[in-house]
């Protein structure tokens, strides 16, 4: 370094042209990085990397459900001194990139994590599209892929193709069929006749979910009185809701994204549109939903739902609130954190960072997590609930009957209070 600086000073004013300067810079950079990686080899550590949407349209979802959990885990590992391997705490270094909500960018970032940063494990990005984008490359390099925010109908086929992918959500059809099963039961009990209005956001997940619901509604001979989609990003729902209100449905289903979920609830309240069952999708479980709707959240239904009543889950939510000064959502948050616990326990049990061994342990082992005990079946977590509902300020799972911590449905939904 000294020599280079000297040369730089000597040549600085007169002799050094751009190319020379460039060479000097490159050399010093090479020296610097060599120094860093030399150090890294000396003080053994576990490297965990992830690329996630810190900017762009996926930021909202990523920073509600995923990023806080990664940060929380990182902080806790730092405090604990690392992950225990062969009785010794090995410090963990985290490397994070912004994928800018762009599927090419996420692939590039993950390749960089693998080839340049040489990380031992990679945590998944947020959302179906991004997870699908990185799945082939994670598979090719043998990284376990703990997919928590990837919802697709193709999971059975994907499971065949990618042996190290693990699933912690249901398929879109399972979510959609879940809510229709709730309707079927209500009709069988004579609580509704079966007039349903259905809307969806015209984007991948909204379309997939609503198509599955539509098919099942038709099969079960429900009377669909309104069925439309609306463009992505639309927050003006009043015209649509007015039109739906005129058709007087008993059940309203919206397969929506967070901003439109809030807009639909808010504007339905304004209009006094009070069907007996009110269901919106992504965002219904977000803390911001309760903030915005207050007591009016009561009775609103959505998909998923992780019971907040298990002591381990409650303790996790408490930690989350304390660390970020905001609540965890009632669905993916705890699930994401549970997958991190599984990864850590798998590393500690196998006493290695050998990815094949760790993957095998995740596949076959039983784990103690913030969701209670988890054991995957055929690489899938099957105890997730498909339908939930806001009850007394908490989003509770209400369907299927064997979901963890399931509660009876509160029906009909209380009317909006303005």
């Amino acid at each position: 370094m000294v020599a280079i600086t000297k040369k730089f000073i000597i040549n600085g004013d007169n002799g050094m042209n751009r190319r020379q300067f460039g060479t000097a810079l490159a050399t010093s950079l090479a020296l610097l990085t060599a120094g860093v990686s030399g150090q890294a080899l000396a003080q053994e550590e576990i490297r965990i990397g992830y690329a996630i949407s810190k900017t762009g349209p996926y930021t909202g979802g990523a920073s509600t459900t995923v990023i806080p959990n990664y940060e929380m885990w990182e902080a806790e590992l730092k405090e604990a001194g690392g992950i225990t391997i062969n009785g010794r705490k090995v410090p963990v270094r985290f490397i994070a990139y912004d994928d800018r909500s762009n599927s090419e960018e996420v692939v590039r970032a993950v390749e960089r994590l693998i080839n340049q940063d040489k990380v031992d494990f990679i945590l998944p990005p947020w959302g179906t599209a991004m997870n699908l984008a990185v799945a082939p490359i994670l598979d090719r390099h043998g990284y376990p892929h703990l997919a928590t925010t990837m919802i697709s109908d193709r999971i059975p086929q994907l499971r065949e193709r990618w042996a190290n992918q693990f699933y912690f959500v249901l398929t879109s059809s399972q979510y959609a069929v879940g809510i229709v099963e709730v309707l079927e039961k209500l009709r069988a009990d004579g609580k509704i006749k079966g007039d349903v209005a259905i809307v969806n956001v015209a984007d991948q997940f909204g379309v997939e979910l609503s198509n599955a619901a539509r098919a099942r509604l038709k099969e079960s001979k429900f009377n669909v009185v309104y069925d439309q989609s609306y463009p992505l990003g639309q927050q003006d729902m009043q015209s649509m809701l007015n039109e739906i209100r005129r058709r007087n449905p008993e059940v309203f289903l919206a397969f929506s994204y967070p901003p439109d979920t809030l807009a639909i609830n808010d504007q339905a309240k304004t209009l006094g549109f009070n069907p007996k069952l009110f269901y919106t999708s992504v965002g219904t479980v977000f803390p911001i939903f309760k903030q915005r709707m207050g007591d009016n959240a009561e009775g609103v239904m959505g998909f998923g739902g992780v019971s907040a009543e298990l002591p381990v889950t409650a303790a996790y939510r408490e930690r989350h609130l304390k660390m970020f000064d905001k609540e965890a959502d009632f669905n993916g948050s705890a699930v994401t954190y549970a997958t991190l616990q599984m990864l850590q326990q798998a590393i500690e049990r196998t006493n290695s960072i050998d990815r094949a061994k760790v993957s095998a342990e995740i596949r076959d082992g039983s784990f103690e997590t913030v969701l209670g005990p988890i054991k995957l079946q055929n690489r899938m977590w099957v105890e997730a609930s498909s339908v939930g509902q806001w009850q007394d300020g908490k989003f509770q799972p209400v369907h299927p009957a064997d979901a963890i911590g399931v509660k009876p449905l509160n029906f009909p939904k209380p009317e909006w209070k303005n």
Partner: protein, 289 residues
């Protein structure tokens, strides 16, 4: 009555579009700065309002009195420091347009980055006015009506300024011809800086108002820039009445299509309309040929 519902809803929606676009028509049409970071200014104002409201219980309407002048000042500074050199070295309008697009494209990331660092990428919104008014039997949310009211008020105030004051006339003169304005003793630089800052104040005001009823996050700015661009091009760049009319037409179209055809076709209808206007009136509804 479906038709009354649709009309009233179209009116509030159109009012919002006009409000959002007014600042850009000043910045682009008069100060000749195609401000790509326009939507980010708006989002920043929405965040400022959110912060004032949740941390200091300052109501958004009071926040309007704080955020708008602040944005005016910041915009003025930006014009003086960042954009004046571009204006000076630009050989003609086209060169300035390209330069300003590039410079404000960079500004976009700066603002978005600052907001991200301060607030994170989460969705935000807050409950302020929860009242509902019945108008001809149609329920209307009070916050939307307030936004519409302000859009009309601000539009009228701006119109009065531009057409009935001396500095307003100077601003219009600069819009028509910067070169000849100089000949009649108008300080073009000051007038342009003033207009750009005025546009900045307006966009902040619209950010404050829509934050009362929309959900926003740090990366949503571009949506508003695009909407505003469509409105001002439809209305005729730099033309205030055109901007108001175009906003209202867009709002009405969306509302009518959503009510009587399908909510899925609102975007298609918007762009079809945009296309028609571009074909038959390439300079916008009120644009000069």
């Amino acid at each position: 009555m479906p038709i009354i519902d649709a009309l009233l809803n179209g009116l509030t929606l159109g009012g919002m579009y006009a409000l959002v676009a007014m600042g850009l028509t000043l910045q682009y049409g008069v100060a000749r700065i195609m401000n790509l970071s326009y939507g980010q200014f708006m989002i920043a104002a929405a965040f400022a309002t959110f912060w004032l409201f949740t941390s200091f219980s300052i109501s958004p309407l009071l926040g309007l009195l704080i955020v708008t002048p602040l944005a005016f000042g910041i915009s003025w500074l930006i014009y003086r420091v960042l954009l004046t050199p571009l204006v000076k070295r630009a050989k003609d309008d086209n060169a300035l347009e390209v330069d300003s697009i590039l410079a404000t494209f960079g500004l976009l990331f700066v603002i978005e980055g600052v907001v991200l660092v301060m607030f994170g990428g989460n969705y935000f919104n807050y409950a302020y006015i929860d009242r509902v008014f019945m108008i001809f039997g149609t329920p209307m949310a009070a916050d939307r009506l307030i936004a519409l009211g302000f859009a009309v008020l601000i539009g009228a105030g701006l119109y009065a300024f531009l057409y009935h004051t001396r500095s307003g006339t100077a601003v219009r003169a600069v819009a028509v011809s910067p070169v000849s304005s100089r000949l009649v003793g108008i300080n073009v630089e000051t007038a342009a800086a003033l207009t750009f800052a005025l546009g900045g104040g307006l966009v902040a005001a619209s950010g404050v108002l829509v934050s009362m009823f929309l959900t926003f996050n740090a990366s949503m700015g571009v949506i508003f820039t695009l909407k505003a661009l469509i409105v001002i091009i439809m209305g005729g760049v730099g033309n205030l009445p055109g901007c108001l009319l175009a906003g209202l037409i867009l709002g009405m179209t969306e509302s009518m299509v959503a009510t009587f055809v399908s909510p899925g076709l609102t975007l298609a209808a918007t762009f079809a309309l945009f296309l028609l206007i571009l074909i038959f009136r390439p300079n916008g509804l009120f644009g000069r040929a």
